[in-house]
Symmetry: D2
């Protein structure tokens, strides 16, 4: 697909993450033009549209999807709306960038993938780590044979403190957080399939929410069909900031990515040495958030850049769902052969 002129993009979801994507489109990607914003909260779309310089505001996302001036949508609504929005946008012939998780059930994932395929529209999913410079460099080392055959992998996410337990849904640590790590682990072990998972999780940050199923700490062990063993690890409250790291050990070496430091500046003083750390995902991943949307837009203009797609989202979801089952069962859970 090749198009000339900027790609006219509509943003669905004017919450915090949606507006951040909107700013990225408006300020950092000249090949895109943010033309519309939709959000069901009264006034939210209008305010965001004004702030972001978009002409059109819709309260009903269906209206944005029906707008013929919108060639592509960025979906940043709450997760449980993602699939229906993907299906509708696909039906309207719009190219789709959807935040993770693309779906909350495998059936929904299949539905989204099928809709995009039927419509022949691109479907990209917001697995941002693939676009972070250090992670991308690690993947290049892997592709170049620098670590040989992967044998041990690790991916972790530690969100900064201050989350509101009331706003977190059961399963969130798997479906919204570790789903990033599951994608990273698959991406760091190209061509391999996850056989089974074993997950343990607990409410260690807010034990008082444990009976609501609000797990804030989790460790998942995955076995791949090439023998590699991987660990994904998450916690919702890192005192020191936003910590995302990965490593892959293989027959020929090790590659690591991720650093929580805000800059390379170091301070030595009577108490020792100090550095400052990153406190927000948008500080750690600002350039990654730009790159994923830039590649989305570039592909719409004829480029052929590798991006995470519907099947990637389905695979990561299948792992997350198996992890949830594993916690409940206290046992290893095998994935279906076609799952991940």
């Amino acid at each position: 697909m090749t198009r000339s002129g900027p790609v006219r993009v509509g943003l669905i979801g004017a919450g915090w993450m949606g507006r951040f994507h909107g700013q990225t489109l408006a300020r950092r990607i000249p090949e895109a033009e943010l033309v519309a914003v939709a959000d069901p909260a009264p006034g939210a779309a209008r305010q965001a549209a004004d702030e972001l310089g978009a002409r059109q505001a819709y309260q009903d996302p269906a209206d944005l999807i029906g707008d013929p001036a919108v060639a592509a949508v960025v979906i940043a609504s709450p997760a449980h709306f993602h699939t229906d929005l993907v299906v509708a946008a696909a039906a309207a012939g719009q190219a789709i960038f959807v935040e993770k998780p693309m779906a909350l059930t495998v059936a929904d994932a299949d539905r989204a993938i099928a809709a995009a395929a039927a419509a022949g529209v691109p479907l990209q999913v917001g697995f941002n780590r693939r676009f972070a410079a250090g992670f991308a460099a690690a993947r290049r080392v892997i592709d170049d044979g620098g670590i040989g055959t992967p044998q041990l992998l690790r991916s972790l996410t530690r969100d900064p403190g201050g989350f509101d337990p009331a706003a977190v849904k059961p399963g969130a640590i798997f479906l919204e957080t570790l789903i990033h790590d599951f994608d990273t682990l698959r991406w760091f072990n190209p061509g391999a399939r996850v056989l089974d998972v074993y997950a343990v999780a607990d409410a260690l940050v807010h034990p008082e929410f444990a009976d609501r199923g609000l797990l804030d700490t989790a460790v998942v062990t995955l076995r791949f069909d090439n023998g590699a063993i991987a660990v994904a690890e998450a916690n919702f409250s890192a005192a020191y900031g936003y910590d995302v790291r990965g490593e892959v050990f293989g027959s020929a070496g090790l590659v690591t990515a991720g650093d929580v430091h805000a800059t390379e500046m170091r301070h030595l003083h009577a108490g020792g040495s100090s550095g400052s750390t990153v406190r927000r995902n948008i500080d750690l991943f600002r350039d990654a958030y730009t790159q994923e949307l830039a590649d989305f837009v570039a592909n719409l203009r004829g480029a052929n850049r590798p991006v995470p797609t519907g099947p990637d989202a389905r695979a990561a979801l299948a792992i997350a769902l198996a992890a949830i089952d594993s916690v409940a069962a206290g046992a290893r859970v095998a994935l279906p052969p076609d799952a991940a």
Copy 2:
């Protein structure tokens, strides 16, 4: 000064650096609108304007300066045109961002400063390190008292290899490269004045150009009136990339900034550990180049962000000229009391 709407900016100089500034203005600073480009080379302005989405192209910079639609200019011409362009733009009431060096003589520096002052227009100079995140963080530590009174300072620039000696002018290592370090050292020692300098320099990369005065390696020692001793160091051909670092040691500690690594990714293999390094100034300083222009534009819209100005350029120039004299004399050279 407060203005609403994007700041209409004209770019003078469509060479490599000029076009990079143009891209920054066009793509990364929504508060700016690049409206015109001027370059004396036939066709250069037109081509750059098209590439950058600017409406207007001028072969004669005077025409851009005379364009009433242009509220601010970014001057990225060859250095010896800088002063005259600053003076002309000031006379036209345009706000001015000028690449370093703003002038090649103290008289010219005074002329530029006076013109801007007479016209009441902002005059910002392209000392980009002040806007690099690590250097800015170091300065905050200094401001917060984290190193106490500065006693020993260091700033270095090592350009990546591959320069064309034929394109380099005598004095360039001081006037075009170390002038950054002189500014950094002054900025890292706020309120202190440089008393004298001692410089040694040589043609070590291209000894065959030594007799043309083309010095490619230099070390300058500066004494400040608060007792601090500083070293600035430059070389035109670092095999490993673009290396810019600074450190300040004081009575209470040390702060360091600058890292040549491209990302935090590390690779361990049979040969040891490896990382990759940055090869171009625009990779090392991309965000700094954005920030300096963003602050320039923000100040035009009413902000009050600290930026390097004409007197800073004059002070760094005075140090550079004294360093040139010092090399010639083989001796320490004192700066005039009002110089730096």
Copy 3:
């Protein structure tokens, strides 16, 4: 116990590790005197005794244990002799330092502990990481409350390449290698007990030995009774060297220890940056090996330094045995309440 004069030590086992301990005693710990060496291999004890400056050589370890001039023994024989040697040395009233694993069954561990207790002799086990400077510093941070309550822990061992599969016994990755990590994890989570483990393991380095049960890669997940979740990870063939790292994440922060770099030297060149890595455990842990024996000896002379003892060895062993069971069962295995 307080004794004056150097502690007279006998070394049992003149293999590679035994001789290294002997050198440490002879060269780096003036408070110890290596007086005897025993090894059943013909001539081995004599050769080692000469090399190490010990007066006495015994082919039968029982003779060394029966030697009244020997106040303390360092047991570095093959693992399956450890328990019997501990019991015999205890019966002879000798203080005991025994390499890990102290025993291969819990019953043997109990037998060793009981023997030492009955005889009133010190029984220290060779968990060297507790004595590595970085790991010890991490533990101090933990003790000082610097990470709050531990929530996520990691310990890994990656041995350098080149092992001889024929010399490795089934279970070795758990009983000889990961047993270090199990001890480290317990030591990094003071006062907590391991509830259960889940282990996966495979023959990835030498798949041809898989049917002999020679596992060379393993990942073990442990749950502690304070909620903390830990991961231990091992591989027998790291291309880049000897890699031992640990980290503890808690409610107030993170602490990390371990670095595979041989020195702080870094080399920047046309290919990027490079450092060299450590290839042998005795290079990575030279000072730790000294410190553990120095503390053993110091305690015999009246000091009261914290060291890993029989119950620590029993706890780590129980975890290793549960991990072996877990691999066989493909399921989580609970530890007995008194185990670890």
Copy 4:
């Protein structure tokens, strides 16, 4: 020279550094036997001999030098006695390790060198950085061509705070501290000769001692005959610890050595990241102090390890003296052709 049995060493000077060398000989170098200690302070030699396990104590160093049981001396007296002690020990046929500075005048340096040469005894000088693992690794990179031709060098020493100005002699920062850096710079630029130096220095830590000539901060620029330019930098009071670093930049790359961190442990917490720093030279250089004496002893037993000798001490001294002259003159000072 080849000798069997441990080398019988006598220690001259039972001050802090002398006793440290004595402990190194007694505890870490089995090939050496510390047989005697001499110190003019009443009782000092006896106390040190007892502490170090040496049989013999002398109040008069001449008696130790006259002791036929002493094959080698380690001279750690105050600096102004060094030369006479070297000359006397040489006359007695003793091998000599002398702390820096070997002499305080070039004439004395020549006298020491001549005495050792006439007697045919080894004369090693205490330039410990050559034996620090990171610095030694850097030198290997240089020897292997990893940085090409040296062009820019740096060596710095920042002593930890708390020095007693009353105990410091004028010139000490050059003769006792920077003399290390001068040796390092020569050693990092093998085969090159220093042409001239320019030094600036001040009393910034204790300005009240400036009029006594007690300079505590200094920067020295050196030019080598292969074109390389070097900077040596010292300060007597680093708030954060003991900081010794070096770097060499050349036509093919850069190598750096030195790190003030006490261990690789890092702590991340609400305030950012932290590490701890080394506070004493004997912590930073413990292994280097061992290695220099181990090599001294090994050479006496027939090895042929490269060590700094009398001519190295003379060359570093000549640079230090020229630096002192340069401070006084406020100008560049050339070294005699045969000096460094």
